[in-house]
């Protein structure tokens, strides 16, 4: 369908898991940036990394009129009722990053999300190359209930399986909590004299663990992360991290603006002939080679 700036100003409501998370905060900036270009006025409903608060916010969102809506759920399934109400009212709802509810249960306009399994696999693969397929590795998972974490863990395992000389030492979850990660890594470093590589389900945890490693003089561990936010790019550039993979916040949030404008202005349909029900928005693995370019693209809210 034809795309472009909307002639009349559109009102859109956005909500993501919680602005405490850098990834979400960057998404907000991207949505607002692209919204301005496309003449969309974005109203934000913060999920506060809290299922109840986000539900309250989405209830309030659903009691108002919007041209379109984009939501990343903090707790899967918790937002289904008010989202259904908006869909029934004919508002295009774009689902970001995490399922609001299983796709067959909720008729969202489109689901824009990266493939977590792919992200987990590709970074793990990069780590395997770095240690030449031999040695020991630790995975520090996100919260076990998080679908993203579950996907990344699956990707990790699918790759590790192919390297028989690599031993997985530990997969204790860090729950996205940097204080817990620091504690777990204290123990890992004491318990395991030789760790070749470590894969973290996000960069924040990776950087927190790096701090512990540096304090204990164990900077030889190859670190892989996920998200590729600017501080992680910096870490990749100066060698603290080996690799990370871009979870393209700007692409997802900016994409939601474009999908919404197309739906409202050009009447783009959902599914066949229009926007696919499920759009995979993967980003690349980031190493020293492409980190600079990645940083530039993020500054332009492109990825």
């Amino acid at each position: 369908a034809e795309m472009g700036r909307s002639a009349k100003p559109l009102r859109a409501a956005f909500s993501n898991a919680g602005l405490q998370a850098t990834w979400c905060a960057q998404g907000k900036s991207a949505a607002e940036y692209w919204g301005k270009l496309f003449n969309v006025d974005v109203t934000w409903f913060d999920g506060e990394l809290n299922a109840t608060r986000q539900r309250g916010a989405i209830d309030n969102m659903a009691s108002q009129r919007w041209d379109f809506v984009a939501i990343q759920a903090f707790g899967i399934g918790t937002l289904a009722a008010p989202v259904r109400k908006m869909i029934d009212a004919g508002i295009p709802v774009i689902d970001l990053d995490t399922l609001i509810a299983p796709l067959d249960q909720l008729n969202v306009h489109s689901f824009l999300a990266p493939d977590n399994e792919f992200m987990g696999a590709s970074v793990t693969e990069a780590l395997m190359q770095a240690i030449r397929g031999e040695g020991t590795i630790i995975m520090t998972q996100g919260a076990l209930g998080h679908t993203g974490a579950q996907g990344r863990a699956r990707g990790f395992e699918s790759v590790v399986k192919r390297y028989p000389k690599v031993e997985v030492l530990d997969t204790t979850p860090g729950d996205w909590d940097v204080t817990k990660v620091a504690r777990i890594w204290d123990t890992h470093l004491t318990k395991y004299p030789k760790i070749s590589a470590a894969y973290f389900h996000n960069d924040d945890m990776a950087l927190a663990a790096y701090n512990v490693m540096r304090a204990k003089g164990r900077t030889d561990i190859k670190i892989g992360g996920c998200d590729a936010m600017p501080p992680a790019l910096q870490a990749v550039l100066d060698g603290r991290m080996h690799a990370t993979v871009r979870n393209p916040s700007c692409r997802i949030h900016g994409g939601a603006i474009m999908a919404g404008v197309a739906a409202v202005v050009a009447g783009e349909k959902t599914g066949e002939g229009g926007i696919p029900k499920h759009v995979i928005t993967d980003g690349p693995v980031v190493t020293k080679d492409n980190a600079h370019g990645m940083a530039w693209m993020q500054k332009q809210f492109l990825i």
Binding site: L19, K28, T43, W44, F45, D46, E48, N50, A51, T52, R53, R55, G56, A57, D59, N60, M61, S63, Q64, G75, I76, G77, T78, L79, A80, A81, A101, P102, A143, L144, G145, Q150
Partner: protein, 342 residues
């Protein structure tokens, strides 16, 4: 014995002195009115029927938890485990219900609605442990329920194992997320619980004992009131209310998962104390809790209707809470002055 030289006199000015005596209750009410007026003037979408329904629905779960907590706080105890018990009960209910094939939990589905009484029994058991610890072992409720908070979280985690369960028995689904006409069932349930709590506290012997135990534990004991039984019962009521809230909450949110209810702890405590029930026991009641619930409900909801820096909202919520507390304290002081002068 001496001859009766005195006669029993009625109050001199019943209306005015009654009003003054109600100051403690009026202050939160005034806060509520002020907030409603403020948000109505700031946003056209706030003062609508649809949004009123929203607010009521949003405070329903907190309300059910807060009823139990009101009993506990009136006894001059505290229950920090309410949210955790709610969470564990909701998860237990889902654990005992047949789940969709996509859900990957080694659960124990039971036929029919059998999971409902079992989940309730589960939360009552947690309540009984708390009651035992507080009244028999003599652990202060603050730390006993702190431990129970972690135990509740542990049970929830162990059952749901990081997964999300979606299905609960139909009855619970209806009560948690259905409506009768325009009125959500959950609002009906919450109102019923609030009303029952009020009736019990105001019109039953047990309710009177709750106030007396909170007002002066030693005096209650010396009057032959079974203080430990009353406190234990309050703890059980609190667990039952939390359990009910947890079950309905799972239906309301459409899912059962770990840590889902975490912020209900602060919300419920805030509702009770903002409403003017004293943390030192013996003063307040469900009426106060209702006002407190509405103050917080309006505040949370209203801030979403106002265009405002998302990061500023958290601070503003804290400041309004503080303001409500300050007003409460001053109103109470005025009231006790009024009483001393009366």
């Amino acid at each position: 014995m001496s001859t009766p030289v005195t006669t029993v006199m009625p109050d001199r000015d019943p209306l005015w002195s009654r009003l003054r005596a109600q100051l403690r209750n009026l202050a939160p009410f005034a806060t509520l009115i002020a907030l409603v007026a403020l948000f109505s003037s700031l946003s056209p979408s706030f003062a609508t029927w649809g949004n009123l329904a929203n607010i009521l629905q949003q405070v329903s779960i907190t309300a059910i938890i807060a009823v139990g907590l009101t009993f506990v706080i009136l006894c001059a105890e505290i229950d920090l485990s309410v949210a955790s018990v709610a969470n564990a009960t909701g998860i237990l209910l889902a654990f005992l219900t047949v789940q969709d094939a996509s859900v990957n939990i080694a659960n124990l589905p039971l036929p029919g609605g059998l999971s409902i009484p079992l989940a309730l029994a589960g939360c009552l058991m947690l309540g009984a442990v708390t009651a035992f610890g507080v009244t028999r072992i003599g652990i202060p409720s603050f730390i006993m329920t702190l431990a129970m908070l972690q135990i509740g979280n542990g049970i929830g985690a162990l059952l749901v194992r990081g997964q999300i369960a979606y299905t609960v028995p139909d009855l619970v689904t209806t009560l948690g997320s259905g409506s009768i006409g325009p009125v959500p069932w959950i609002v009906v349930v919450a109102s019923t619980v609030l009303l029952t709590g009020h009736l019990v506290l105001t019109y039953t012997r047990f309710g009177r004992y709750v106030y007396m135990v909170g007002g002066n534990r030693e005096a209650a004991e010396h009057s032959g009131v079974g203080v430990r039984a009353i406190i234990g019962a309050a703890m059980l009521i609190s667990a039952a209310c939390s359990g009910l809230a947890g079950m309905l909450g799972v239906a309301y949110f459409g899912s059962a998962q770990q840590n889902q209810f975490d912020n209900y702890l602060l919300d419920a405590i805030s509702a009770v104390v903002v409403g003017g029930t004293s943390l030192f026991g013996g003063q307040g009641g469900i009426g106060n809790t209702i006002i407190g619930l509405l103050v917080l409900g309006v505040l949370n909801n209203g801030l979403d209707h106002v265009r405002m820096d998302s990061f500023l909202k958290i601070l503003i919520r804290g400041l309004v809470l503080l303001l409500a507390l300050v007003i409460n304290v001053y109103a109470q002081r005025l009231r006790s002055h009024a009483r001393a002068a009366g």
